[in-house]
Symmetry: C2
Subunit: 584 residues, 2 copies
């Protein structure tokens, strides 16, 4: 048969991976390390000479490994959890990532590496390894402790930031320069894409999967999940984003399906198989001689990862209001790098912007820091005691004051309620605006690139008017919703902001004006922005006027229906979150 | 990234497969049909033009689908079940396969096809589809009925015969001719390989997996299972057999692990994913125009499959002692072809001995017969009634007599016990002999092809003596065991066969002579046969004598130890079968 080579490769990978992982388990080391070592054994750099022949296919399977790894992370991620984790994790996560990228970049520059190499090194050092942390905490029996929950929260924040980082790095690598406008544009587009994907995904995907799950056929559920997952990945690739990000996002969307437990159970073996291949290929690329040549950087980076992460995360957690001991535990738990670093390294290679040595360095650092993780977690408490004893009394009193001051800052009572409502309304307006922008961008694509009207109408003005008008028509429910939310917000702000002591007997009038003016101005700003964004399909002035008049008529006639439609969509979306996940 | 093509292909396959299978489920048709239709939609022969770009990788994944399909069949097969199913299924299965191959061959010749095409057509028509049958019986709520159990038994027999057929077809295709000696040699080698694989496999694999399963890590168990599965497939490929057979055999071996439930649960999603790809690629290859051109053969073959199988299986079951109604139900349940036919068709293509049209014909026939299966099962009882009414009374009385006569034939009491013991002993001797032959063949390979002694000893005579002597030494426990079993058998035969009425006062002496002579002669025959088989490493006469003398000395000195060793191995093997499978 024609594919003996490939079966041979797979057999070698699976056999050696199996043996080595069982060995590593006996040595109480993570399975992931076993895979990497298996890869080194199989690899072309160690005798007995290359055991892999069909490198192309193995690479593709490894890429499937990345997709399934990220998809599983997405499944575990869940937007519910994101709402539950508070400010601590955001501060600690952000502090860690910014500091680590900076440290990594500086180390790279210090060793005289290329800018891109230094940047990718920073990115690789930024993200801790969920796999390793979960395993280590599990083995030490600490998985249910409070600090572990915060670690998981920080990991979620890291995941999001990592996704952003990957998008940014891809953009950087492709365009080569870092103009702020471009970064802003990239992030703007990404944000709109993510918001729309999440909203549409959450409305459609969980319902679809729950419908399929009702058949009680594992096979059908699995194929549907894979179909949706790869279909979304395809869309993501077409839009120029990384497939890893796509898998993560669609995983997070599927996490809201009631059949989540079942989906996880079905995806687990598939993920384990392909991720094993992924980790083995990491080992395959590892040339022991490179490790010797780069011993210096490896040691420096390892120390930087451990010390940097402990300091950044601990201080970040402390600043965000955690106790000293807990902060230390959190920091010590996250002092390693893992699968995400490999994915970023793979990204660098596939974009061909990084040097060959970066990969083995990342792998070596990951191995060293992984092995040390359980030790570090265990030594968190003793170290805290030592630090507490060594710290001058005045400093520790300052720390105590800080914690107290921070707690006094928390909003309470009415203020907290108002702040919560403002945040919620702004979020809703933002989401609606993103959807409207997406509608116009898609319409622009359809009219200009796909030329869907070209067959029927020859005049480009009418084509544009049709496209722009269609987008406007579809946007109306969301624009109305945005307008109503903004009005509610301005009324509230007018009530709170325009004090009677200041405006005297004009108070009511001033309030009314504020409440009316703010939403109209906001909406006008939105429309102008939209026109700018959709400039490529903005019809000529007279047609635009016609379209706007028709739009206004439609709004007047169907105001109530639009509101009903939108609130139905909104309820459906909220429903998705409030349905309890089915127990297995 | 470099593998966008592939992700694109996979996305298209999974998306369309997902949609079509959900649709097919609503239409109450088997999922497998949905996959094939999805393949046709995606395929190059239907608009919108080819959606698949990286055909190489998709083909490889489809081949993984075959491996996992066969592996799952092996897991469900279980040697225990084989021991439980009786003569009925062997007779019915054999009757069906021989008749169908013959019918298929004749149909092929009738249409003027090549000999190989006709032969492969016969093979494709011979094997019914486990997947379709299980599904149909499940949906009709008949899965636990008596006749369903017999159907499953026949399917097991079919699986074994299909494996033999594939080996034979491969041999035929490669060598091109069909000399009886070659067939005998092929089957001899295959038998030895299978027996040794099963014995060694059953001793090692279930224990290994149970050891791994104790860790309670799904990931580790899965990777170990995959490692063993692909490792064995590799061995099988190296020996020139089909990878499908290897997957099936190693599956059957793993079926004896206590962790079977867990293994099945882990393999299921992986199998579903890859088998979906396999079935879709079947659709991919389907050119609707070919279907039009070969409408005649398709109709004829479909009718032949349905009528032929119903007649062959029903009559076979009836001859083997089933009631008329049950026989009819069994026959009507098996009147379709499915996954095995595709695997055989794939084999023909990969060996490039069959014509292109054979594949679409097989697929079309499979689709037609699959759709008709539930109808046929439901109409079994009415048809039986009609037949019973239409049948002349005399004929039905003959049938009644036959059933009664058959039941009177069954051995009872002492005779049954003795027959059972004889069968068991002969089986044990056979297994031991296979192991010994395998030891000599491996030794011949090591000495002659791998030249393992070439580094130490230059004289080829000494090399041969070492190899032959080593094989003999390792064989001694099995030879002793064979000798002892044969002795026990001859004593029993002497007791039963040499009647006092015939031998008079010499009875005891005659019996003793018979009991002593038979085993010695058998063993001598074995050794001569061995010498012939291992002729390539048979040392020169004087060295051979030396080796034999040393062997005899070892036997005398370590007789008891050898017996103990062998019985320990035997107990371990029996243990494997007697451990109850762990419940999930």
């Amino acid at each position: 048969m024609h594919s003996i080579d490939f079966i041979h490769d797979l057999a070698v990978i699976m056999l050696i991976a199996g043996v080595v992982t069982v060995l590593f388990h006996r040595l109480k080391q993570p399975v992931v390390l076993g895979y990497i070592v298996a890869g080194v054994i199989i690899g072309p750099h160690t005798p007995p000479s290359p055991l892999i022949t069909d490198q192309h296919t193995i690479d593709i399977l490894a890429e499937l490994g990345v997709i399934f790894l990220m998809f599983s992370l997405g499944l575990e991620f869940s937007l519910r959890k994101l709402r539950a984790v508070g400010a601590t994790v955001a501060v600690a996560g952000l502090a860690e990532i910014v500091l680590m990228i900076w440290i990594g970049f500086e180390i790279g520059r210090h060793f005289g590496w290329k800018t891109m190499d230094a940047l990718f090194l920073g990115a690789m050092m930024a993200i801790s390894s969920t796999t390793i942390i979960v395993r280590a905490l599990d083995e030490l029996g600490l998985k249910r402790e409070g600090f572990a929950q915060i670690i998981f929260g920080i990991l979620v924040v890291e995941d999001i930031l990592a996704i952003c980082m990957m998008v940014l790095l891809t953009g950087l690598a492709v365009s080569g320069n870092v103009s702020p406008q471009e970064v802003a544009l990239t992030f703007g587009k990404l944000t709109i894409f993510l918001v729309v994907s999440l909203v549409v995904g959450l409305l459609v995907v969980p319902r679809l999967l729950d419908y399929v799950a009702r058949v009680k056929s594992n096979e059908m559920l699995l194929i549907s999940v894979l179909g949706i997952c790869f279909g979304f990945c395809l869309l993501v690739i077409r839009l120029g984003y990384s497939v890893a990000m796509g898998a993560f996002v669609i995983g997070a969307v599927m996490a809201e399906a009631r059949a989540l437990r079942n989906i996880e159970r079905l995806i687990e073996p598939v993920r384990d198989m392909f991720s094993a291949i992924f980790f083995v290929t990491i080992g395959l690329m590892l040339d022991p001689r490179v490790l010797g040549d780069y011993l210096g950087p490896i040691v420096v980076v390892s120390i930087a990862v451990i010390v940097g992460k402990i300091v950044a995360v601990s201080v970040g957690s402390f600043i965000a209001g955690q106790e000293g001991r807990t902060s230390m535990r959190i920091g010590m738990g996250m002092a390693q790098i893992g699968e995400f670093s490999f994915i970023i390294a793979t990204l660098g290679i596939s974009l061909s912007v990084t040097s060959d040595f970066l990969y083995p360095v990342a792998v070596a650092v990951s191995v060293i820091t992984t092995v040390l993780t359980p030790l570090l977690i265990r030594s968190a408490d003793p170290l805290t005691k030592v630090l507490a004893r060594a710290m001058p009394r005045r400093l520790s009193r300052v720390f105590g004051f800080y914690t107290g001051w921070l707690q006094s800052l928390r909003l309470e009572g009415d203020q907290a309620v108002i702040a919560g409502m403002v945040r919620k309304i702004l979020m809703q307006v933002f989401i609606n605006f993103c959807i409207v922008v997406a509608l116009f961008l898609v319409s622009a694509y359809l009219v200009r690139d796909a030329r869907i009207f070209a067959g029927w109408v020859s005049d480009s003005g009418i084509q544009k008017a049709l496209g722009w008008g269609g987008a406007l028509l579809l946007s109306i429910p969301f624009l109305i919703a945005a307008y109503r939310k903004l009005k509610a917000l301005s009324m509230m702000l007018a009530e709170v902001g325009v004090r009677r002591s200041f405006a005297g007997r004009h108070t009511d009038n001033v309030r009314r004006v504020v409440a009316e003016v703010i939403p109209v101005i906001s909406l006008a700003v939105m429309l102008v922005l939209l026109s700018a964004l959709s400039s490529s399909i903005l019809p000529p002035a007279e047609m635009l006027l016609l379209v706007l008049v028709v739009g206004a008529l439609v709004v007047m006639l169907l105001w109530r229906q639009f509101i009903k439609l939108h609130s139905r969509l909104q309820i459906a979306l909220i429903d998705t979150f409030q349905k309890p996940p089915a127990e297995h």
